[in-house]
Amino acid sequence: MSNSGNDGNAGSNGGNGGGNGGNGEPIIRLRDLAKSYYRGSLEIPVLTGIDLDIPRGGYYALMGPSGSGKTTLLNLLAGIDRPTGGELEVCGYRLNDFDDNELASWRATNVGFIFQNYNLIPVLNAYENIELPLLLTELSRAQRRERVLEALQLVNLTEQMQHFPRQLSGGQEQRVAIARAIVHDPDLIVADEPTGALDAKNAEEALNLIQHLNEELGKTIVMVTHDPKAARHAHIQIHLEKGVLDRTVEVHELPPREPLLGGRVPH
């Protein structure tokens, strides 16, 4: 394996390990987390016994084969799904205790979403799409405008702010989505295969932006990805296998010639 620092421990608390993992209290704390679906009385376990701490400011890549439960885990962290067992604590709140409305308002302040399919609202232009999370705040119109313009500048789409999603390229759409994820200044940003629908160049651009959110703005990022190249942007790679944490890999600064060797991450 070309990557050093593969500690290979199934189910270890990855966040406590690396120097790249951030500091202080974990922003995400999972204990024996489980999620099952039920078909009639038949239990279909999707996630079992997940123990994981992710430190504030960490950049984690969630990897694993299709159907291993990556999206399911991400949805639980983001508070749009509910666990069937275990403890789920994110951004200082025990999400197990929340009802639907409490979860919604928790998401509105704490989480930014980036989807594989961008999921912009087609009848709203770039500006209005980015403004959406701010509509749930107390901010005045002028204050919202200031923030939206800032976010537009961050993703370098100020000129396209009047464009509707269908008038934007895929890469631009994803950048609008990234702006929407950051505009309300959440602590946690979750991304489910954010580069899955993009070509190499646009993928790189999106990944650089996400990295910027992490490094410059201090956002905690949890990103599901199949792409080893994308995963190398993260500090830590978590591998899921059939619903359990398989191993955690710490990504180190790569020596200059490392990419020539392929830089492949096993999964």
Binding site: T72, I80, N101, A108, F115
Partner: protein, 387 residues
Amino acid sequence: MKYASLVFRSLFRHRLRTLLTLSFLALSVFLVALMQGFLGTLDALTTSSASGSRLVVQDKASFTNVIPESYGNFLRAQPEIEAVTQFQWFGGEYKDPKNFFANFAVQKDTYLQVYREEAGVDLLPPEGVRDFLQDGNGCIVGKSLADKYGWKVGDVVPLRSPIFNLSVRLNVRAIFQGKRQSDEQALVFGLKQIQEAVPWMKGRVGSFVVRVKSSQDIPKLCERIDRNFANASPETLSMSENAFNLNMMKMFGDFGTMLHSITSAVLVAILLVTASTMAMTIRERSTQIAVLRALGFTAGKVMGLLLAEGLLLALMGGLLGLGLAVLAAKVTAGLASAILPWMADFYIPPDTLLLCLVGTLAMGLLSTFVPAYQATRKPIVEALRAL
């Protein structure tokens, strides 16, 4: 309202579909408002207070038959009676058969007593009344009818009646103003003229109209009159003028029941069509709805946005339909009053308009509620997965 443009643009996402639904809504509301307005007009016609104190005595076999003038003696002898007048529909055409309006022959002096409200007797100039009563060819004309043909006092109006095969030349002696538009759609002249010119009309009248002192006396009076002539030939049929008007309406069929059932059918159709449109637009957007909820919009908030869309659709369709109905009522009143004088009163009362609007909005809400409820209860992750 910071969500206004989101609601509006979501509604018009599929412009053609929304416009079609809107047109359907508008058309339905238009129909309902017109029908309800029409029913209201009929209702006013058969329940007016002046006509409530009158009764009509006619031939039992058919109201088109004539009855002896002498029957009036018995009527006048009844203590409950205030005045009795004679009445005969003339059906005269003015210059051209297309110029159709209500014109009838009466016993002049008693007519002004029996129909004093309709003829606006208080407002008539005394010399006009005098001339009308003295001139054998005198007539009085309702103001709106006079305005329509540009008649003034002193003008001569030639009328030709195919019923009597008779032409008359009438002098306009006064122009009267009634309480309602429909009252002014008539020309009234003396029955003597017809009785003198048409042999079979000698000593005969089409019907008597009787004004009673108290409307409570009408039923027993009708009964007494008809009993009195039970063995005479012809027999009589007496009824309140309201009942008479209602009977006239019934010649066209049972409007009330028919229009009410059409109204209900249209309301159900509105509900179904808006429900299917809203269900379709909401189902198409299940991912978007899930995205909004992921961003932190509560189910209630999303529900509110969707209901606002349904409400907006109903509001636009409703206002459009009602606007058209008000216009159509105006035009119809103008056109139809030539044939049916009471149609001059045809309008859609404000409370009917309000009721129609509230009904449409309720339909809009109701039809959006079910799909909106389903969409906002669906687990977010399920809707996001179903791409």
